[in-house]
């Protein structure tokens, strides 16, 4: 059994999600009684493999479990995949996977490009590190979920404006539900991103004060990007609330949620592809400091 679990790779669950996405994409093209079973089967298998993969990594981590950028991306993907599976079983006729699964696969892809080395840790700042990571994870999931709901709102609203009946295999949730999801996601994203940013500042300050680990300079690109992301998310949440009692509130919230996703993606890409001293061990940080003063 242990051998089986340790043999699960990212490719296993990514491939299962990909097959599930293929099934979802084929819904508007043709009808099939078998597709539903295949879809649920692959989505469940992917989620199970994903869960076992993370559990295995958590159990075999010498320090704090799941403490690399690789793990955090996979955790975010796991939460969204779990949400998708729940929606698939609770409401099988509603098409959500076509929008949610690409985000899940995108996060898995980002994980593959990220470092698997754990973030530098010291016992004194471990708790702050976990708080910082957890809030950032929650913010990322909220932004992604809100953007998916926002995109579906815009598609559904376009259909209703054009006075067309739902296309075969493309039945979306109601505008009411999607608008409520988008609005809640905007607030959750803003508060958790702010809490993540503040906890990151505290973590950095504690490290600096105690001289425990390499500190991240205030002008580090990731700090600046995260600061801008937090500012954007708070502004978007306030704007969403400000429009709440106006007829265009849902449309504004939908567009803002998409914009938030673009900002988040840019921030992630910067983190994955850019040069930073954020979250790297002291030896690497010194090397980076020589290249990028």
């Amino acid at each position: 059994m242990t051998e089986f679990i340790s043999g699960i790779s990212v490719v296993c669950f990514a491939a299962s999600y990909f097959v599930a996405l293929g099934c979802e994409a084929s819904r508007p093209l043709f009808r099939s009684g078998l597709r539903g079973a295949i879809l649920v089967g692959f989505a469940t298998a992917g989620f199970l493999a994903h869960t076992l993969f993370l559990a295995w990594r958590a159990a075999n981590e010498p320090n704090v479990p799941l403490s690399s950028a690789f793990d955090w991306y996979l955790l975010a993907a796991w939460l969204l995949a779990g949400g998708y599976l729940w929606l698939l079983v609770a409401n099988p006729r509603t098409q959500v996977g076509l929008f949610l699964l690409p985000v899940v696969l995108g996060l898995v892809g980002a994980a593959q490009l990220s470092s698997r080395a754990p973030f530098p840790q010291s016992p004194a700042t471990q708790v702050w590190g976990v708080i910082h990571g957890s809030f950032n994870l929650a913010a990322s999931v909220a932004v992604a979920g809100g953007a998916v709901a926002g995109l579906m709102w815009l598609i559904q609203a376009t259909r209703l404006t054009r006075k067309r009946t739902p296309a075969q295999g493309l039945r979306l949730p109601s505008l009411e539900l999607l608008a409520a999801t988008t609005g809640r996601a905007a607030w959750i994203a803003a508060w958790t991103a702010a809490a993540g940013f503040v906890s990151g500042l505290v973590l950095n300050a504690v490290n600096r004060q105690r001289g425990l680990l390499e500190t991240v300079p205030w002008n580090d690109p990731v700090v600046l990007r995260m600061g801008m992301l937090v500012a954007w998310l708070i502004a978007a949440a306030i704007a969403t609330r400000a429009f709440a009692r106006r007829p265009e509130a849902a449309r504004v919230a939908a567009w803002l949620s998409l914009a938030s996703f673009v900002v988040l993606t840019a921030s992630i890409l910067w983190g994955v592809l850019g040069t930073t001293r954020h979250g790297v061990p002291p030896t690497q940080a010194s090397a980076i400091r020589e290249v990028v003063p």
Binding site: R31, G33, T165, S174, L175, E176, P247, E248, A250
Partner: protein, 424 residues
């Protein structure tokens, strides 16, 4: 002939005659009993709906179904109609055509509204009635079971019955449900007394709506309508306030000018606090100024919009026809193959019996000549004989089964009878 059918539908029988021809459940049961007494040994099922009356008869060998003209006369007699009036408008079919017709009927392909689902339960009821009156048998039983299986396949493998075709159902299921997740916390405002308001409210109530306000130009009428529609009356003078409080409006007045012009709606809009509003304007001429539909948060659907959606759904259903017909064809072929194969059963039985009899005789002779054989050896030899017989019979029986797929295998059956000297 094993299967026979006579019947008329909305396409061939005028409404006045269809009304006289229709059977109530009691009349149908009585007719089936009468058929059983008059044509003993035959099976019969009577399907009577508002759009069709059809008699399916079946029988084999000595009890083949009565000729079509006798079936027409029987129907005419049961309903007290002159057979000469009925004969020209009733269709007649036999054998495979009967099966194909029943499968099409059960799948909704022959219905007035293509793909309508009620016909399946009507077919089930007709068969159940025949079972209760003991006029159903193995032939009609197999045929009706296969018809229900065909209907199920058509429903699950095509989108024939998926799209809605009536304006109220499309308005609620495809549009109002696209905007609102639930209706039990929504206010429904009904303006006017048009016919479609009642039907639309039925769908809304099924969706959970219960807070219904009815307004009409005359208060007395509003009270009566509210009582009839299961809502509470509102004052027409309070239309602005009612519009501000409503989430969904069903408007069906007979007014010649818009009841809700843009300026009146603008006054109501300020009190809505941005809540979305669905307006189903089912009146002709329209009750709502079309410009209101361009306001943010307002989803306005006129009767033409909904009619166009229904028409699109109807076209979509027709596009599913080839797929549905292919299923009916496949199931018909399968059923007829089974039916033909069934007719070979007596010959196969006699063939097997002959082989078994000869084998047993040879075994007896062998065991008498070699009395030293113990029980285990005898059992081995017996099994070897049985295996040999089964292997020798396999090829002719497989040929019979294959031949049955394209029709009754009379030639092969005759050949087998002569080759193996099988007596009747």
């Amino acid at each position: 002939m094993t299967l026979a059918f006579v019947g008329g539908t909305h396409r061939t029988v005028p409404l006045a005659l269809r009304e006289r021809l229709a059977f109530s459940a009691e009349q149908a049961a009585e007719a089936l009993c009468r058929f059983r007494d008059r044509f003993p040994g035959r099976e019969v099922v009577l399907l009577s709906t508002c759009n069709r009356v059809e008699l399916y008869a079946a029988g084999e060998e000595a009890a083949v179904p009565p000729p079509a003209e006798q079936l027409v006369s029987f129907l005419a007699e049961c309903r007290g109609i002159d057979a000469a009036v009925l004969a020209p408008v009733l269709a007649r079919e036999s054998d495979e055509a009967v099966v194909r017709h029943l499968f099409s009927v059960a799948s909704g392909l022959d219905s007035m509204v293509l793909g309508e689902p009620q016909i399946v339960s009507q077919v089930k009821q007709a068969w159940a009635l025949a079972q209760r009156t003991e006029t159903a048998g193995p032939l009609t039983g197999g045929m009706f079971q296969a018809a229900l299986r065909t209907a199920k396949r058509v429903a699950s493998e095509t989108a024939l019955g998926r799209e809605r075709l009536s304006i109220p159902s499309v308005a609620v299921a495809d549009f109002a449900r696209g905007v609102f997740e639930r209706f039990d916390d929504k206010r429904v405002l009904v303006i006017g007394a048009g016919k479609m308001a009642h039907e639309t409210l039925r769908y809304l109530r099924e969706a959970g709506a219960h807070d219904i306000v009815v307004v009409n130009r005359t208060a007395d009428r509003a009270h009566r309508l509210a009582a009839r529609l299961g809502g509470r009356p509102g004052r027409f003078d309070d239309l602005v306030a009612e519009l501000a409080a409503a989430d969904l409006v069903v408007s069906t007045t007979g007014a010649s000018e818009p009841v809700v012009p843009a300026d009146l709606f603008a006054r109501a809009e300020s009190g809505r606090e941005g809540r979305p509003l669905v307006v189903l304007d089912l009146a002709v001429p329209r009750d709502f100024d079309p410009a209101i539909g361009a306001r943010p948060g307002v989803w306005l659907y006129s009767i033409d919009d909904l009619g166009a959606a229904c028409e699109a759904n109807r076209r979509s259903r027709h596009r599913e026809m080839p797929g549905a017909l292919a299923i009916v064809d496949e199931e018909t072929r399968r059923f007829m193959g089974d039916l033909h194969h069934r007719s070979t059963a007596p010959v196969i039985e006699r063939l097997r019996a002959g082989w078994t009899e000869t084998g047993e005789a040879e075994l007896d002779r062998l065991f008498r000549r070699v009395p030293s054989l113990d029980d285990a050896a005898r059992a081995e030899i017996r099994q070897a004989f049985e295996r040999y017989a089964a292997k020798m019979l396999h090829s002719p029986l497989a040929s019979l089964r294959n031949e049955s797929r394209s029709g009754p295998p009379h030639g092969l059956l005759d050949a087998l009878k002569r080759l193996f000297d099988l007596k009747e």
